[in-house]
């Protein structure tokens, strides 16, 4: 009951703001008519306590007395148009007048009305409003407030007249004010996490585990394309950066950890994925020597393969991936940027799958993932074939690299709010991984 008094006291007396009935209604999720009454009640209550501490505006609706209105009109026409021949220019029609009035003028305006059909408090303010147009600002706040959750249900609560016949496109366009790039990535991550969570997390999506592992790659594969597209340019730049970073890093192999960080710094504009890459990459880098080119080739090859075989892959990758990839690696190099991201995501997805399901065939899968991980390394540093083998053979190594990723992603997210899909994807991938890790059993 007194919630509104609390709110109003806070808003009006403490924060010194103007509150309209609509704002109150939105804030407290009450019907506008109730809000009007609350405003009145609070106004009375407060001014009883301390007179003149609150200033109200009222809405009056009804018919005004005709006299002044009509005189004005006639005079106007006469002054403009000397020929008074067309006397009955227009039919007389009833005029309803809705007036927003300050309480100081309330009585005065009331006397102008012939008949008043409704009256209510429009707003309360701690000071007399100099200009009623200021209320438009509050009205805008309401728009902003309600634009977020303007569902039919909420509108019923507020008392908006509902219309059962509304026809609306199902597909919503991209949010109008967001940056052009943003929408696409946003959508994709949305799809991806689901797929990744399927096997692992029972909490959000319970039905999906049935869908099984096969689905995970399918979703992850399509995701690959768009994300690079979104941030392609940046990555291209960073790719070059990586090249140099690699060169610098190689000699110092033993101190791998630090170079890795440097790299990541260089790559930072990519988003958080970069962080993930180096971390995994570094470990493997230590083990293996390789040249960047090959790794790149591998990555591109794999990317192409993924692009081409998305569908097939989905079905077959479990069985066929590892054999298929090796030959592919030797294909011609292509622009770097895409592979890295794509593969990362791919990796994560597949990793998730493997870990979560942890079943019989997953072993093969792991092989593929490891490849992708390697690809990531390639992106950063180098990839070597032995690496693959070892990964494929050992199931243990695969999980190990994974945990760091999620962490990285997790850290990254709060630190630098993800600007793009890449980041978001990374974060979500990480989550997926964690889930899978736990639910594996």
């Amino acid at each position: 009951m007194d919630e509104y008094k609390h709110y109003l006291a806070q808003k009006l007396l403490t924060e010194d703001q103007v509150v309209t009935y609509r704002l109150l209604s939105r804030a407290l999720k009450v019907h506008v008519n109730a809000a009007k009454e609350m405003l009145f009640d609070f106004h009375k209550w407060q001014n009883d306590k301390r007179p003149n501490s609150l200033h109200a505006t009222y809405i009056i609706y009804g018919t005004k007395k005709q006299v002044d209105e009509q005189d004005g009109d006639v005079e106007m026409t006469n002054s403009q148009n000397s020929e008074g021949l067309h006397v009955p220019l227009s039919d007389e029609v009833p005029i309803q007048t809705l007036t927003l009035v300050r309480e100081e003028h309330l009585q005065e305006v009331l006397t102008q009305y012939d008949e008043i059909t409704s009256i209510h408090v429009y707003s309360l303010a701690p000071h007399p409003l100099k200009d009623l147009q200021l209320l438009a600002d509050t009205a805008r706040q309401v728009l902003e407030l309600s634009s977020g959750d303007s569902t039919p249900a909420s509108e019923k609560v507020f008392g908006v007249i509902t219309n059962p016949n509304v026809r609306k496109r199902d597909r919503h366009g991209p949010p109008p004010k967001s940056i052009t790039n943003a929408p696409a990535p946003k959508v994709e991550p949305g799809a991806q996490p689901k797929s990744e969570e399927k096997p692992t997390t029972t909490v959000p999506v319970k039905e999906e585990p049935k869908a099984a592992t096969t689905k995970a790659p399918t979703t992850s594969a399509p995701v690959k394309k768009p994300t690079p597209a979104a941030s392609g340019k940046r990555q291209a730049a960073s790719g070059i950066g990586q090249m140099f970073a690699k060169a610098a890093a190689k000699p110092k192999k033993p101190a791998a950890a630090k170079p890795a960080e440097e790299k990541s710094a260089a790559l930072s504009d990519d988003g958080e994925d970069d962080d993930a890459e180096p971390m995994t990459g570094v470990k493997q880098e230590d083990k293996e020597d390789s040249n960047a080119r090959q790794s790149r080739k591998d990555r591109q090859a794999e990317l192409e393969r993924m692009m081409d075989e998305e569908d097939e892959e989905d079905d077959e990758d479990e069985k066929a991936d590892s054999p298929a990839e090796e030959p592919m690696e030797e294909d011609e190099p292509e622009p770097e940027p895409e592979p890295t991201h794509a593969e990362k995501e791919g990796e994560e997805g597949e990793e998730v799958v493997s870990t979560t399901t942890g079943g019989r065939r997953r072993g093969r899968r792991r092989v593929t993932r490891k490849k992708q991980i390697l690809d990531d390394q390639g992106y950063l540093v180098t990839i070597q074939e032995p690496g693959w083998e070892s990964f494929s053979e050992d199931e243990a190594p695969a999980p190990k690299p994974q945990p760091p990723k999620p962490k990285a992603a997790a850290k990254a997210e709060p630190a630098a709010k993800p600007k793009k899909g890449a980041a978001a994807a990374g974060g979500k991938g990480g989550q997926g991984n964690i889930m899978s890790f736990f639910s594996k059993k």
Partner: protein
């Protein structure tokens, strides 16, 4: 006798009652837009304007001749029977005759391309006079058809409002000066009026009413309604159609921001008390008749709309950096707040982001990133043939025709009347509207002084059917009147004032076409 607040039925000045509120449902709106004024997307501007006048004359000549011959066939003046002259050139000096043709009016202040050329006046922007009419009476009226042109004189002319482009029949004799001394004038009068719900029940082609003059009994709503019950067209739901114009959302001028906000609350049914809200739920459709967006000062307007009020608009060149998206965003927000509750028909006006020439094509949905989800029907390529479902948020052409709650509605953003206004020495906007209806021309001054697309195959400004409701937006003052035609047609004329200036909303009862005004003020 001031009212005491206790008497007010809808008094919400009370303690929260806590009683549950009724959920209000908005009355459904029956709505069939017609695409009479849609242009083909791939339109050509190669052709000449002469075709329009030719088409107009061919279309309207039979109508006016029918009326004229009925009126003058037996006329004998001074012992001389009056004969019909087929063409303007057939008029013989001294012979009493009548002839039909297109009016052409020349006025000193009227823009004239020939004069511009001859005086080597090649300024980039056209001069737009607020008024072509001048009191000194130097108006020359002539009547022309495909054969030639004859100047008209006579006192009778003063009794009629005439503008370039309207088709009339005149009775008179040619005098020694070669001018036609006019004795009487006949107009085409109101076109045939379709029955209510004619479009909705289009299947029985006989009821089309467009071409045939079969049956035309009008204003007998009751009769019509009873007829209706047999065929399925929806019964009128007792709703109201709200018409507003000149919302003029602006980024720098907040002088009517609160009124706009109150308008929104009013239309949404949030303002007022439960009983009044119940009434508000009767408003079944909002029609916005032009000028929804205010011209910003920095926005250069190359299209030189004739009724432009601002002087600084007349420069060419467009500086994209000066574009201010805020007004259209505000409009979009306004609409998107309204649309979940109320269907909206949006006509462009002279200041809206649409083409400048008549007929203005719909404002593109891209202007409304939030509201456009309510446009479900993709416009067909020629924009003409998408029947059936209509858009919830319908951005339409500027003269616009449609059937709302069974009534044939014709509406414009006001340029047609504003342009006629320049020809005449009167402020009677309703009279001008009536004239356009009697001329059967929604925009007679196009393409002469009202910019227009050079139509080739059809003159859409010719009214084929008589609307039941004819509204014109962006007018200086409110006005409404019913005009009737010789065959029982009745048209409710409504001049819708600009919201910026009058803060008025017009409500048209969809059963009776009665009009009420709602004034919104903040004092």
């Amino acid at each position: 006798m001031s009212t005491t607040l206790e008497d007010v039925p809808g008094n919400l000045l009370r303690k929260p009652s806590g009683k549950p509120e009724n959920e209000l449902q908005r009355t459904a709106s029956s709505y069939k837009p017609l695409h009479s004024f849609s242009l083909n997307k791939e339109k050509s501007y190669q052709q000449q304007f002469a075709d329009m006048y030719f088409l107009r004359l061919t279309k309207l000549k039979p109508a006016v001749e029918q009326i004229a011959s009925a009126a003058w066939a037996e006329t004998v003046i001074g012992g001389e029977p009056c004969k019909k002259a087929e063409r303007v050139l057939d008029i013989r000096q001294g012979e009493l005759c009548w002839v039909s043709g297109t009016v052409y009016i020349d006025m000193p202040l009227k823009p004239d391309i020939l004069e511009d050329v001859s005086k080597d006046r090649w300024i980039s922007a056209p001069i737009t006079n607020d008024k072509y009419y001048s009191e000194d009476g130097t108006i020359s009226i002539s009547l022309e058809d495909e054969s030639g042109r004859v100047p008209l004189t006579g006192e009778v002319l003063k009794d009629y409002t005439l503008v370039t482009g309207c088709i009339i029949a005149v009775l008179g004799t040619e005098n020694a000066d070669g001018d036609l001394e006019v004795i009487d004038i006949k107009l085409p009068e109101l076109p045939p009026q379709p029955d209510r719900w004619a479009v909705s029940k289009q299947q029985p082609a006989a009821n089309g009413g467009t071409a045939g003059k079969s049956k035309r009994k009008v204003v007998k709503d009751e009769d019509d309604d009873e007829e209706m019950t047999d065929s399925q067209p929806p019964k009128s739901s007792g709703g109201k159609i709200a018409i507003v114009s000149g919302l003029s959302f602006s980024s720098h001028d907040a002088s009517h921001a609160i009124e706009l906000s109150l308008l929104l609350e009013y239309l949404l049914g949030e303002a007022l008390d439960p009983n009044a809200q119940q009434e508000l739920s009767q408003i079944s459709r909002l029609i916005i008749a032009g000028n929804s967006i205010s011209l910003e000062d920095p926005r250069p307007v190359a299209d030189g709309d004739k009724d432009s009020k601002d002087k600084q608009q007349k420069k060419y060149g467009y500086d994209a950096s000066s574009y201010n998206a805020l007004p259209s965003q505000l409009l979009d927000e306004f609409l998107s707040a309204l649309l979940p509750s109320l269907p909206v028909t949006l006509l462009p006006g002279s200041r809206d982001p649409a083409n400048a020439s008549y007929p203005q094509q719909p404002i593109h949905a891209a202007m409304f990133p939030k509201s456009r989800v309510y446009t479900t029907v993709q416009p067909s390529k020629d924009g003409s043939s998408s029947n059936g479902e209509s858009n919830w948020f319908d951005t339409v052409t500027n003269p616009w025709e449609g059937e709302v709650d069974g009534w044939r509605v014709l509406g414009t953003g006001g340029q047609n009347i504003d342009d006629i206004f320049k020809y005449v020495g009167s402020d009677d906007r309703l009279g001008m509207m009536e004239c356009t209806a009697r001329w059967r021309l929604s925009a007679p001054t196009a393409p002469d002084t009202l910019w227009s697309y050079p139509f080739q195959d059809d003159d859409p400004f010719v009214m084929q059917t008589c609307p039941h409701l004819y509204f014109v937006g962006c007018q200086p003052t409110f006005g409404t009147r019913v005009v009737t035609g010789p065959e029982g047609q009745a048209v409710r004329l409504v001049a819708v004032p600009s919201f910026t200036e009058s803060h008025e909303l017009v409500l048209v009862d969809s059963d009776t076409l009665d009009v009420t005004r709602v004034k919104i003020s903040a004092v």
